[in-house]
């Protein structure tokens, strides 16, 4: 083989495939600012009572604005947002399962509580997903980890996470190779009761990944690796970056505080 590994995307997301290359202001923000912004925004969204529908409109506008500025194509965002479908399905069922009092919607009797609950889950969940996409499409995973490191997340975490991201490539690669080998011999396990083959191959996948990972670890040690990734001389984030990153999330937080204090939290 003369070309490198195929740039294939595996299921929910191969780390490199999440990042969408670009030079937007969002891309250029230091990772620690973006992670902090994400956290503030999400907490604001979640703290807002579901009945303050207008607040969610504002949050959606914020998320849309950030994504627009980042230059990430809409269809890419849509494709990533697919991860939330399972809980959307759950939310859809709630108006049917919830307790009375009911409200008539067309031919159906839907529970009011259930409707508000469904709205809450859909709104908050979707906003959370969109905010996360804004981060991961504009920041490489290794940079996200560096951002966490600068936010004073304990070193053990970011070290393990660093290895995890690296090993993920290794494992997915080995998994693909093993699958090709199995398929080439006519074996295509898809069903639950074929667990035996799956279980057996899980064990050998682990060993092969470990041995390959060990070689990667040797290569890293041979170049002076001492447990954490070196800083490639990026300057500390300046005040300007922080202000830029946190402006909109702070607005969201203010709105959340306002709605939470002045509105009754519904059941």
């Amino acid at each position: 083989m003369s070309r490198g590994k195929p740039a294939s995307v595996v299921t929910t997301g191969h780390a490199h495939a999440l990042y969408v290359h670009g030079k937007s202001p969002v891309h250029r923000l230091p990772p620690e600012c973006k992670v902090a912004a994400l956290l503030v925004f999400v907490i604001a969204v979640v703290a807002t009572p579901p009945r303050a529908v207008w607040a969610f409109g504002l949050y959606a506008a914020i998320a849309a604005a950030v994504l627009a500025v980042s230059g990430v194509p809409r269809r890419v965002v849509a494709r990533r947002a697919v991860v939330e479908i399972p809980f959307l399905l759950f939310a859809v069922m709630l108006p049917f399962l919830g307790p009375p009092p009911d409200v008539a919607v067309g031919p159906m009797e839907l529970s009011t509580v259930g409707l508000w609950a469904a709205w809450s889950i859909v709104a908050k969940g979707t906003l959370g997903v969109l905010a996360s996409i804004a981060l991961t499409a504009t920041t490489e995973v290794t940079d996200i980890l560096e951002g966490l490191d600068r936010l004073r997340v304990p070193r053990v975490f970011t070290d393990i996470a660093g290895f995890m991201v690296r090993y993920l490539d290794v494992i997915l690669g080995e998994q693909r190779r093993m699958r090709v080998a199995m398929l080439s011999r006519g074996y295509d396990p898809r069903w639950w009761w074929q667990a035996r083959a799956l279980a057996a191959s899980a064990g050998s996948l682990f060993i092969r990944s470990y041995e390959r990972g060990e070689r990667v670890f040797f290569a890293m040690t041979a170049r002076g690796y001492q447990g954490h990734m070196p800083r490639f001389a990026r300057e500390e984030a300046g005040a300007r970056s922080w202000v830029l990153a946190l402006a909109l999330p702070t607005l969201a937080a203010a709105v959340a505080l306002a709605t939470a204090t002045w509105l009754e939290t519904p059941r």
Partner: protein, 251 residues
């Protein structure tokens, strides 16, 4: 008598399950020399390489790199001095871009900013890979990845460059490109290889290892012309290749 770039004395090592791998291995390499390490599969070549930068600790014997003994206290410095290029470039290219991979080594030794950028630039230029600096390594061809892997090690300015099977799986054109690069470097070199014509072309001197022992040490041309030695150590020349006719490159 100058300090040898690499000095191995009576090295012995067994695997955890007890198999003897290296038995009293000993040799010197002087600064500026280019030496190839030949031998059949299972002879212990890669295990030996892993001893040279302290990844494996021997059961007995010593290794010195430019006079510095390979012991736990000196490992960081040893690893800077012994630049090992492993067989599989994918094991060594683990950063998102080529630039970061080449910068990884020197950055671990404290280089940053302008000095780091200069070092990376020089390393990439010496292997002819400057234009791919911002690309992800897995987008490059195998030959390119091999050269980038060499750059990642050169960036640490080592005393000796150790290469493990640098030509395996390379197409003839890439093989040539790599040979040009390696010849152009002003560095001491130890090359583990099966590729006997390559060894003849690039390394005036060769060591032959078999069953954990060094069984020959001399001029590559002489060793390859010794049919008995070759047969005894499972070394085979390609069909039609006559070492007495081929003129090795100036080392």
């Amino acid at each position: 008598m100058t300090t040898p770039a690499l000095e191995v004395v009576d090295l012995c090592y067994r695997y955890p399950d007890g198999t003897e791998v290296l038995r009293d291995v000993g040799f010197h390499i002087h600064p500026g020399e280019r030496v190839s390490l030949l031998g059949p599969n299972g002879a212990g070549k890669t295990t030996l390489v892993l001893h040279l930068n302290g990844i494996i600790e021997p059961d007995s014997g010593t290794v010195r790199v430019a006079g510095l003994p390979v012991v736990p206290e000196h490992l960081m410095e040893v690893r800077r001095r012994t630049g090992v290029v492993f067989q599989d470039p994918d094991d060594q290219l683990f950063m998102p871009t080529v630039w970061k991979d080449v910068a990884f080594g020197p950055a671990n030794y404290g280089l940053e900013g302008e000095a780091l950028a200069a070092r990376v630039g020089a390393a990439l230029e010496s292997v002819g890979m400057t234009e791919v600096a911002q690309r992800p390594p897995h987008h490059l061809s195998l030959g390119q990845r091999r050269r980038v892997a060499v750059a990642t090690v050169l960036a640490m300015e080592p005393e000796i460059l150790v290469l493990d099977e640098p030509t395996s799986n390379l197409d003839p054109a890439s093989r040539r490109e790599l040979a040009t690069v390696l010849t152009g470097l002003d560095i001491t070199m130890l090359m583990v290889t099966h590729d006997l014509p390559y060894a003849l072309e690039l390394c005036p001197r060769s060591l032959v290892i078999n069953d954990g022992r060094i069984v020959a040490d001399g001029s590559t041309a002489d060793l390859l012309a010794d049919a008995e030695l070759m047969a005894a150590n499972r070394l085979e020349l390609p069909l039609g290749f006559d070492p007495r006719v081929v003129v090795p490159r100036a080392g």
